[in-house]
Subunit: 526 residues, 2 copies
């Protein structure tokens, strides 16, 4: 624990050693001590609270039986990938055209070789995280083409924004991964931006990062760059990237996703098999029907990784939202996706696979009460479901079209609360506090008692963005709303940011690789 | 269910019968059909989802043992109430001055006569609610001296505000009780306002309401007015008011609260025994210590109701918040009160008492992201804990100093989501949706399929305040934040409001009683 805090590279108390003698570093340390800095990073969450489950044994078995029926009778399509179809044939599936029908039990049997728990390695070993079991790992938003910037503009994202979100995720104490496409840097050619993205994760953070999945050759580039950092053998024998493989629901895996999956599984890297579900469009309008289809899709896709490489790590992923039956727009944080997430987590545990769902999902255009309600509904569900990997845990706005700086700051504060909640109830003698109750007695107060004095610094989660002052004080300070405070804090953090150390030889090798690859092809913008 | 919808008196489809021939009623029905009205009221929640529990058997027993130690060794004070002390002596307690020490097991033994489940009667029997068991009942905010009005002013509350919040709670589908002091009408003399408050609940709503607890004679007035509505015998034999009795934590019950408790328990009315806890001030800074003290206080206070009248209904209440160790300000929606609420719910179930906690608690001054996060964190906890009675479920702002119209509207929308969530997963054949999955098949979509057509109107909770339109549409519509939409909706509702029928003879009797009582004493303003 101390090691991790020592190596955060944040400008908290523990991070000073990297900035000695530098003017900026010294200023940063002063600012941090004055309260503007993020404080020391926290290790990934090891939940000490129980999981919440909405389905009983009977319900779970019903859904599992129905999923088996889908797999056997309806089948799943693997499109434009002859190798995949051939592998399924060899494994004993009934392949008709691109439609694969799975004999009962085949997928479950294949998945027995997938690990329930594994380590996702960071270039700084103190930042390694556990995926699976009682671990929960938070990662930032993934995918938005737009940002809402600190000047209040909604505009296309750039590589500069990308770097900023990597820096913020690096600094945020309760964000345990650097994530992947924290925003889509549209100012870089489509066929080259993955190089800059992977480089940014390595250069500006030392937390574990995600790989490119938009084409098999981009997945190969990710692997090549990871090998420059971790070494060839290490990459082939350990998970150093998590990779988001969406099913093309309903019941289809397309060429792009299967292509990326094959690259990563072959190199022993983790795939997050995630049906992307807007219930009512990509799945039935009911929770049970949606869960059934999700389970069938994950069984097919996840077991396919084991055909590529036995033992390759794979996650049971679920992206759950609904659509408005009036407008067709996606909706978030509503009761139905909540039930889907709880149920899917149960199904994943029964399969022995680590589970991904949730995040800071919302449909709002601004970080207002709508955004916060939808986000909180989703995040609370995510934690209590026992989710192992949480993509989109901070910064998601407007149905995933926008990465928001302000919302990122608000969300990471909420993640800190969840991390504290996950620690559960301290039942030690100090936790029981009987001495305090005896000392204070009826009619007095606990403000000055010795137990309070001894515990007050760690007793309560301290939000960096909530204003709990008096109305009068809040008025004097300009009647700021939470997102205004988030804006100011974000500017402070970006100002305080200091990069973690990176071996210059590795840095040079990465830059040379990127140059070589960029020079090898013309820019493409579609 | 149909009966209840028929009798909502709301301006939804089912409520038309009360307004035939009236211009306003016809206009209201039109507006309601056009989407501005609240729609039919829902009956109280009967949870079909499991409760979430954070403590295991060992932890629960530890806290129970420690609470017994408090009761026996430290004791609880009943201040300035000779009768209470005498009753405790006669029950076998060791009374020293005002400090009562309870022999092990005494309080639990006394509580065996308290009901685990009972009916809280409304003047409209279709609005009766169950308290206890798998039932959850939402009631509005209680106590604020200020309002944040629809013009954006923060000002002292008036009786007009009081009536408005009663009307809104009456119209809100997922608010099942009219509540109590929905705001403090400071324009009415302190010693007379309870009469106007109780009258407003009876006149402008037909949902079950709470009684006055600020003085024993005001509790008697509540009983007298209830008898004019329900009849003498009915009141003496049924619960028609729920009454909030706060412990003066730590470990004190004061004259006022004990006085009100005695009146209500004698008349068989329900007391909600609620330690009002800001951890760190009124209880230890730890969750386990706070739970221990809460349990001891509830055991003493709740069992005292049984000394007054065996079988009188009583709830295990918990108001859980923390204080900022920097400023001393109360904080809400943070992890520690969440754990307290989950734990207290478990302790209540083990005692066989209905449980009260939670609500839309927040410290924010405005209905922004802070308000929403803190509220959602608290409300989700409240539901999953298995809370039976939820005070402050809508409208709470600024640490309970302010009743907010806008936040009331936002909160009641969230309550609707929780009500849907509580219904759990439909595992019927229709819920399983296998026909839909077969019909659609791989690579298609569910938008037009027959299962979707048959279910789309009820499939998903439809928020009345979330904007899920495109960014462009939202921009055209004025870039409104959620609270702006809430403001508009609140105005619409107040405009659409129609009072439920009240027997004119009862109305006259109530008004005569109020006049008699008001004339009997000079105005008091403190």
């Amino acid at each position: 624990m101390d090691d991790i805090n020592e190596q955060t590279g944040s400008t908290g108390e523990g991070g000073g050693r990297r900035s000695r003698g530098e003017g900026r570093g010294a200023a940063a340390r002063r600012a941090s001590r004055a309260g503007g800095g993020p404080g020391p990073s926290l290790p990934y969450i090891q939940r000490k609270i129980p999981v919440y489950e909405v389905l009983d044994e009977e319900g779970l078995q019903l859904i599992e039986r129905n999923a088996d029926t889908i797999l056997e009778e309806i089948g799943i399509e693997f499109r434009e990938d002859a190798e995949a179809l051939q592998l399924w044939k060899e494994a004993g599936a009934d392949v008709k055209g691109e439609r694969v029908h799975f004999p009962k039990g085949l997928c479950r049997e294949l998945l027995k070789s997938a690990p329930s728990v594994f380590t996702w390695h960071a270039r700084n070993p103190a930042r390694n995280v556990q995926i699976g079991g009682n671990a929960t790992v938070f990662a930032p938003v993934y995918g938005p083409p737009f940002v809402r910037d600190l000047e209040g503009n909604r505009r296309y994202a750039t590589i500069e924004d990308f770097r900023n979100f990597v820096k913020l995720a690096y600094m945020a104490p309760s964000i345990h991964s650097s994530g992947g496409t924290v925003c889509e840097p549209v100012d870089v050619p489509v066929n080259k931006r993955h190089l800059d993205m992977v480089y940014s994760h390595i250069k500006y953070s030392d937390k574990p990062f995600m790989g490119s999945v938009t084409a098999p050759e981009r997945a190969e580039d990710t692997i090549a760059m990871a090998k420059l950092v971790f070494g060839d053998d290490f990459v082939e024998n350990n998970c150093v990237t998590l990779n988001l493989i969406n099913a093309n629901s309903p019941m289809v895996f397309d060429e792009t996703m299967v292509g990326a999956l094959k690259v990563y599984a072959r190199h022993n890297q983790a795939c997050v098999l995630s049906p992307f579900i807007l219930s009512g469009a990509m799945s039935p309008v009911t929770v049970a029907g949606t869960l059934t289809q999700i389970l069938a899709e994950v069984l097919a896709g996840a077991s396919f990784t084991q055909l590529i490489r036995k033992g390759a790590p794979v996650l049971f992923g679920t992206f759950a939202a609904s659509i408005s039956m009036q407008s067709g727009a996606p909706t978030f944080g509503t009761p139905e996706p909540t039930l889907v997430s709880y149920g899917a987590a149960q199904l994943a545990r029964r399969l022995g696979l680590p589970f991904r769902t949730g995040g800071s999902l919302c449909g709002s255009k601004v970080p207002d009460a709508q955004a916060a309600h939808e986000t909180s509904n989703t995040l609370n569900t995510t934690l209590l479901a026992g989710t192992n990997f949480v993509l989109h845990a901070a910064g998601w706005l407007e149905g995933g079209l926008v990465s928001s700086y302000e919302k990122f700051m608000i969300d990471q504060d909420q993640l800190g609360m969840l991390q504290k909640l996950a620690a559960g109830v301290d039942l030690s003698e100090n936790g029981q506090a009987m001495d305090a109750i005896r000392e204070v007695g009826p009619g007095s107060h606990y403000l000055g008692c010795s137990h309070t004095q001894a515990n007050f610094q760690t007793a309560f989660y301290r939000s960096v963005l909530s204003d709990n002052n008096s109305f009068e004080q809040w008025e004097i300070e300009g009647q700021k709303r939470m997102e205004e405070r988030a804006n100011a804090l974000c500017r402070t953090w970006l100002d305080l940011y200091e990069a973690p150390e990176l071996d210059p030889a590795i840095d040079d090798a990465l830059l040379a690789y990127i140059k070589m690859r960029k020079d090898s092809m013309p820019d493409a913008f579609t």
